[in-house]
Subunit: 325 residues, 2 copies
């Protein structure tokens, strides 16, 4: 199902800028306490694919933004993403992320909270360096949306499971940051408000698809490649799209109902439920939905001239939903 | 030593704007999860005197800024201050602030971290709404300075005690935010860069004085009025200016040396040391130093025309060091 070319070639036209984004992020601790530098290096070395800066760079490239400002924006967005991960891992008590020790696995909660705050501060500083008030505003709004989403999830009791809540949650968690990447790049480009709105919509759609695919991979991946058990979300009581479709296909399923009521299952019982979900068609329905989002997103680009820059963005969008499941 | 008039009359010309600042802060949770609104109300009800917004409003009033933007700035600064307090209290495990339960006394650490993040986000949003790139940049830089200061304090082992370190610490902790209040107000005013620099210096000086006085009050206050034991900083191993002056007056004092080496004392032994510091003249030397900062700050205002607005700012500066000790 995957295609090696479309998986990687969209990085080629922006590799040079991605390197500059990396450099800009890593030098943000210069002049501050040396332990902060070590922490930032550690955080940035945990192997993120830099999808968000790539989206920002490709969008801005397509629309004719000045590369310097795009690099600054890309670094600001990836640092914002990094900061939210630091606090997330602390809250979840996660000890590993992408197979590498989290900050809180090594540091005190206090140092972890403050390091997250520091990364927020640097992200905000870089956002201000784009010299665009609309970008600054959108940046702050996005942070508020992300945090409000996490708080809502925390305050919402286990057992509430509707697709509407799911879409709200993945918007706050993921799609809002992709919206920021595309809308802010457009704001830094010589285009009108209508194009900004369209690109924001594009970011929304690929962001929704990205998170749905992530949630599908949680069900389909093997423990060895994921570094966490299959269906780790469900095991923690977090209901994602495949489980929601399963519930719609089998509304009277006692196992799901009991799980939603807050019961925790043994590993074996959970394995049986996960297998039932995997065999139900719910995975395929979820993938299909993600692909729909991507098809809609590509329509958003219809009015853009057919340039190499546009093609790279199309490739990236397709890659999100045609990678290995 | 105090004078009732100078203690309060500087609030009169800006009371109306301070009310708007209050309203702006409290409505930041509108449209978000209702528990967030309750948390924000609780945080803002803990009785802060809103000194930082008052400084911003008085400075901007004096320099002719548009009141609307000053109100937005004032709310942004007080929310930034509030957010840092939320994370501070969490880190210190403090259960009370100004006699009112802290957020972490009632909520989980996770909810407390996220609520702090939410308040940061709202502060950044308001800062962006001032529509000034220099204000945004200074805002982000100030957050970085504050957090870097806290991390440095955390990483610095107990026992390091020099006035140089102390000044750095109180700059990061307090004076940087006063600098932000005065410099940002000037940036929103029809004045040149030289005036912005001068007002930044003014903010620095009153901020340093403010923190020194706070540290003096920790030694001179009574437990009943303070809600915490006398010399609570020293009891926690935090060496402030009175203790530093005491150390300079009595470099061979075995009690201080042993404390700096990381020994914890019984309450009685600590009471004796605190009494020795109180009788040594170190308190008076500290107050004198704070007053010096204020005198310097007033010189910074020399070139400003003698208006009622300027007089209010002078009154506020004097109030900082002539309140009851």
């Amino acid at each position: 199902m995957s295609n090696l070319l479309t998986q990687t070639n969209f990085f080629v036209p922006i590799q040079e800028y991605l390197d500059l984004v990396e450099y800009k992020m890593r030098t943000q601790s210069d002049g501050h306490h040396s332990d902060l530098g070590a922490a930032l290096d550690h955080l940035l070395s945990s192997g993120g694919k830099r999808v968000r800066p790539a989206v920002a760079l490709l969008t801005g490239n397509m629309l004719g933004a000045v590369p310097d400002r795009l690099v600054t924006l890309g670094a600001a967005i990836e640092l914002l993403h990094t900061a939210t991960l630091v606090h997330d891992d602390l809250i979840d008590g996660a000890l590993l992320r992408r197979g590498i020790a989290t900050l809180n696995a090594q540091w005190s909660p206090a140092a972890t909270v403050l390091t997250g705050d520091f990364v927020f501060a640097q992200a905000a500083k870089l956002a201000a360096e784009t010299d665009s008030i609309p970008v600054m505003r959108l940046f702050a709004e996005t942070l508020a949306i992300i945090v409000n989403g996490e708080l809502t999830q925390m305050f919402t009791s286990r057992g509430v499971a509707s697709r509407e809540d799911y879409y709200k949650r993945i918007y706050a968690k993921t799609a809002s940051m992709f919206e920021l990447a595309t809308a802010a790049s457009a704001m830094l480009s010589p285009v009108n408000d209508k194009v900004v709105m369209k690109m924001r919509r594009f970011g929304y759609q690929i962001g929704m698809a990205f998170q749905i695919v992530d949630d599908v991979l949680d069900f389909t991946g093997e423990q060895t490649t994921m570094g966490k058990p299959v269906a780790s979300d469900l095991r923690q009581g977090l209901i994602t799209l495949p489980a929601l479709y399963y519930l719609e296909l089998h509304p009277d399923d006692q196992e799901m109902a009991s799980l939603l009521d807050g019961h925790f299952y043994s590993d074996e019982r959970m394995d049986r439920l996960v297998n039932a979900i995997r065999k139900s068609g719910a995975i395929e329905m979820s993938i299909e939905e993600a692909r729909q989002y991507i098809e809609f997103s590509l329509e958003t680009l219809d009015n853009q001239p057919d340039t190499l820059e546009k093609q790279a963005l199309v490739d990236l969008a397709r890659y999100i939903v045609y990678r290995e499941f």
